[in-house]
Structures are given as C-alpha cells and as structure tokens.
C-alpha cells in the first residue's frame, strides 16, 4: 500500500493516512477481514514515523473501521462508512454550490454527475 502524503498541508499527517486508508477500503483494495500492513511496514513505505502510522490506526480503530488483533496487527472490520460517505457528499455539495456561484449552468453540472454515475449502482 502506497499513497502520497502532503507534508506541508494543514491536515495532520496521521489524518491524511487515515483518510487514504478509508479510500483504499472503500475502493475494495483491502477487504473486510484482511490485515492492514504492519505499522512498521507502512511507516517505512510511506516514509513517516512509527507513531504517526500508529496514531492513524488508533483513529481508525476508534471509528470502528479496523480492529486490533492481539499480537497480530489490525484487520478491516467495516467496508461501508456512513460518516465518511456523508463527508464526501458534503464536499460534493460544496463544490456544486461553488459551481452555481460561478454561474455554471444546471445542465452542465447535471451532465457531469450523470456521466460519472452512469452504470454505477448508486
């Protein structure tokens, strides 16, 4: 598992890691019941400190998305995340609002959403 981290972002690094892992899970790259990489391994691949990854994992565990298995690591517990999905929808709403403010037409906005969601089970 590898993804980019924006070290100069105002978003704390551990939160970026937690968010990206959620995306990995939602996209099905890691499935329910599967193990996440060990803290050490992920820290080395991402080039961050052990504590940063461990903080991200703890956060995910607090949200009930992953679960610690004593002495073995963390497994994925939940594939669907209502809260996370809601946050994404809120973001979408914000972007749509910006588009409307910028004067982009109803048709154009709908066309994009229509195209992107076509064929998906939404």
């Amino acid at each position: 598992m590898w993804f980019t981290i924006d070290f100069s972002s105002h978003v704390p690094v551990y939160r970026q890691i937690a968010e990206k892992i959620k995306m990995e899970i939602i996209q099905g790259n890691i499935k329910k019941g599967e193990f996440l990489p060990s803290i050490r391994k992920l820290a080395n691949t991402l080039g961050v400190n052990l504590n940063t990854v461990s903080r991200a994992y703890r956060e995910l565990a607090n949200e009930g998305i992953i679960e610690s298995v004593r002495g073995e690591g963390y497994i994925v517990k939940k594939e669907k995340m209502k809260k996370f999905n809601q946050a994404l929808l809120n973001q979408l709403e914000e972007v749509v609002e910006k588009c409307i403010k910028a004067g982009i037409s109803h048709e154009k906005i709908c066309k994009i959403i229509e195209e992107k969601t076509r064929g998906e089970n939404v």
Partner: protein, 261 residues
C-alpha cells in the same frame, strides 16, 4: 523519558542565549528544535552535551549519545577510510563495518581525501560516522544544512530509519519543510525561549488563522496586516471572525514574529 531539561538558562553577558526553557524527550522519538538563526538551538544542545556550562537549570540525560556538530569538520589530510580507523580507535561504540555500509549507500569513495570532498559529501561522511556509534540518543545540529534535496532526503530517510529502530533523535533545524517530513515532536524556539512544544500533528490541529477587521485584537499571534484586515494565528478556542486553516509554515512564522516585537 530519555532526556529532560528543566529551566535551562545560559546567558552570554547581556545576551540571553537560552532563557529558561524546559522540555522532555521520550525514547524513540524524533524531536526537532526549530527556530530562526540565533534562537538558541545550538547553545541548548551544547549545554546538554556539557560543552557549555549552564547558568541555571537541570539536565537529565538517561543514555549514551553521539553528536553531529553544526560545523562539519573532520581531519582534512586523512582519507575517509583512515578517518574510520581513527574513529574506531577513539570510540568503543563505533562500528566500522556499519560506517562502511552507510558510506557505500551514500556512494562515497573510501580512498578519497577528506579535503577533496564537497560539503554535501563531507556531511554524509560525518552523519555515517555518527550513526555508526551504537548509542541511545543522537544529537544532530543542522544535519541537512547546505545539502541538495536528493542528499537531504537520503539523510532524512536514515534519521527516520534509526528512529523506527528505537533510537532517539534530537535535532535542530531552521528548515520547515524537512521538519514537517520527519519530526514527531517540535519545539519552536526564538530569542532563547521555547514558544510551542507539541506533536507536529497536534500543533497543526491546535491553531487556525482568523481574519478580522483592522481594529480588532485577538489573543494570538499577528501573522499579517492588509489594508482592511488583520490575520491572526490563534488556538481554535480563541478564534474569532472568518476562520481559515493554518499551515505549519504560517503557524511557525506567526509565533516567531510574535516574539521578535
């Protein structure tokens, strides 16, 4: 806790180089002392290492240590390889084998004379020697000063690896971007004082930028003044007006500027 500093003071005449600072470092941490030039970072390290006598305060250091000084100077007339031999004679904790391995990773020729090395290569040699000492805590004074981005990343990667293997790192820097990349805990220092000391991620979470009209005052650090408004960096609970996220860059600048007034 591997290192604890309590109320450390070091004055050079009128100049309060280190002015009553306290902090703790836990085992396995990467702790960065961050601040502009002349903030007192090097003096702090020197007091810890007993290279300067503190005027006041307590220093508890629980472990063996190795030190990379600010001025990276080694014996000019020796070759890299001979330098390793000399170090081996001087230090019982030094592993020559380990140093050779690190130098190979850095692609430094062992038979080259120290005098012929570029600044970057000299730093790499020095870092390799320091990290080949098997100690608990490494004090690094500006370990990446003057390095190009590629070499800097190699050195940072090595620092992180040491920490992930349980070693403690205390280092000074004035370069924000690299501190953001590897430090876990940061103490922001200016004019001899520590103004903020926390996990880097927690500092990012703690502060926001707020934009107010010009005559409003907010408890925090003034970051910027425009024609009609002021921008403050402040903790979330004290924020007023229009609130925007603050990057570590902004937080650092505001805090350091705040003390210079």
């Amino acid at each position: 806790m591997i290192l604890k500093i309590e109320n450390l003071k070091k004055y050079y005449g009128e100049n309060k180089a280190v002015d009553d600072i306290s902090f703790e470092v836990q085992s396995g941490e990467i702790f960065a002392l961050l601040g502009p030039n002349g903030a007192g970072k090097t003096t702090t390290l020197k007091c810890i290492l007993e290279l300067r006598k503190p005027d006041f305060g307590n220093i508890i250091l629980n472990g063996t240590y190795s030190y990379l000084p600010e001025k990276k100077e080694l014996y000019h007339y020796l070759t890299v390889s001979k330098m390793l031999d000399v170090t081996e004679e001087l230090s019982k904790k030094f592993s020559k084998e380990n140093a050779i391995k690190l130098l190979k990773d850095f692609k430094i020729p062992l038979n080259e004379k120290i005098a012929n090395l570029s600044h970057g290569m000299l730093t790499q040699v020095y870092v390799s020697i320091v990290f080949s000492e098997d100690v608990d805590i490494y004090f690094l004074d500006e370990p990446t000063w003057g390095l190009d981005p590629l070499i800097r990343n190699q050195v940072l990667e090595l620092i992180r690896k040491m920490s992930n293997n349980g070693k403690t790192i205390v280092y000074t820097s004035h370069i924000l971007s690299e501190v953001e990349k590897i430090a876990e805990k940061v103490a922001i220092m200016a004019n001899g004082k520590i103004l903020e000391n926390d996990f880097l991620d927690s500092i990012k979470e703690k502060y926001v930028a707020c934009i107010t009209n010009k005559d409003e005052e907010i408890e925090g650090y003034l970051y910027k003044t425009t024609d009609a408004e002021k921008v403050f960096i402040t903790t979330k609970d004290k924020a007023k007006g229009k609130i925007e996220p603050a990057t570590f860059d902004m937080i650092f600048e505001a805090i350091v500027k705040g003390v210079k007034k």
